[in-house]
């Protein structure tokens, strides 16, 4: 008993001196990024801005290179890009809108690529920060989706879109007192809000998970001799979660594009 107590004594001592046994970086690190240049102006450039710009530029360059030298029988990079276009075409538009949704392919494809590359920075060494773990990025993307599906609805159904969205057919007239406010709230406020929060919270949770296991592994390796072997458990967990987060960054990009497509499809054909 005394052996065990003396073994965990350094950890409890660190805890009693404040800050806990595990020295986590302060939470402000997630919000206050040091500016690289143009500090204080509207053009302030920091790591998150860099990730967003990088994702945009890389997407444009990849498709530009492949599009310039497109061959009938694809090789190498062209194979990869054609597979991704095919994936968005079949899995996102084919599943959510149908054949007449093909005109939204460029928009959904660039949305998918932007989110995927910004998310990928969560597992890229030396960066380890998903661009979408700042609320600004998902919020703009969700507002873009809102403008898109309301615009599509108004363009194809005129003001009848709002009638179909707020007064769903087949409901007894008296129930509209109840149904219309709910539909108003869910279609125009909760939809973009949940789109943004889903992406933001998933990436933030993944980032905090990876930070937790990194801090744990470092503390255990640097800690007392008796606790060092525990790092043999926590380090493989860190590796496994890095792989898991890679999958999550793909899945979140897919789900964001899929839900945007579902909303556009609903605005395009409001009666089913």
């Amino acid at each position: 008993m005394t052996g065990l107590l003396s073994a965990i004594e350094p950890v409890t001592r660190a805890a009693s001196e404040g800050g806990g046994g595990l020295q986590f970086p302060p939470i402000e690190n997630l919000v206050l990024w040091p500016a690289w240049f143009a500090e204080g102006t509207i053009f302030e450039f920091n790591k998150i801005t860099f990730i967003s710009v990088f994702a945009t530029v890389v997407t444009v360059i990849l498709f530009f290179i492949v599009g310039r030298k497109a061959k009938l029988v694809p090789t190498g990079l062209q194979n990869l890009m054609e597979t991704s276009v095919d994936f968005v075409e079949k899995q996102v538009i084919g599943a959510a809108i149908g054949p007449d949704g093909m005109r939204y392919l460029p928009m959904l494809l660039s949305m998918f690529f932007f989110i995927f590359i910004t998310n990928l920075f969560e597992v890229i060494p030396t960066s380890h920060m998903p661009g979408n773990a700042r609320m600004a990025n998902p919020l703009v993307l969700a507002l873009l989706a809102l403008v898109m599906y309301v615009g599509v609805g108004v363009k194809h159904n005129g003001l009848g879109y709002f009638k179909a969205a707020l007064f769903p057919p087949g409901v007894p007239a008296a129930l509209y007192i109840l149904v219309t406010p709910i539909e108003l709230l869910s279609t125009f406020i909760i939809r973009p809000f949940s789109l943004a929060v889903r992406l933001f919270a998933n990436m933030l949770a993944g980032h905090i998970l990876l930070v937790t296991f990194s801090v744990l592994t470092i503390t255990l390796v640097a800690g007392p001799l008796l606790l060092k072997p525990v790092a043999l458990v926590s380090f493989p967990m860190l590796v496994a979660f890095t792989g898991f987060e890679f999958m999550v960054s793909f899945l979140q990009a897919f789900i964001f594009a899929l839900l945007t497509a579902v909303y556009i499809g609903g605005a395009l054909h409001p009666h089913h």
Binding site: A15, S16, E17, Q91, L204
Partner: protein, 90 residues
Amino acid sequence: MSALTYLAEAAVDPKAQQNIAAASGAGIAYGLAAIGPALGIGYLVGQAVQAIARQPESAGQVQTTMFLGIAFTEALALIGFVVFILLKFV
């Protein structure tokens, strides 16, 4: 200083008491927020597996619908997570 005296000191300090209340409130809030989505996603994926096992050729369509359902169900747990962050750190 041992851990016990630290706890005893924390019990009388109002700032520490506030921290303790915030931390335990955040933990309980997230735990409660995770119950519903956990049941929902478990049921949803279970039914999807059953559908694919009965009709393997419809696997692609069932999977897409399953991811959609997971995205909607999971949103509640994620809002719980955001509340956790707000309670604990803000």
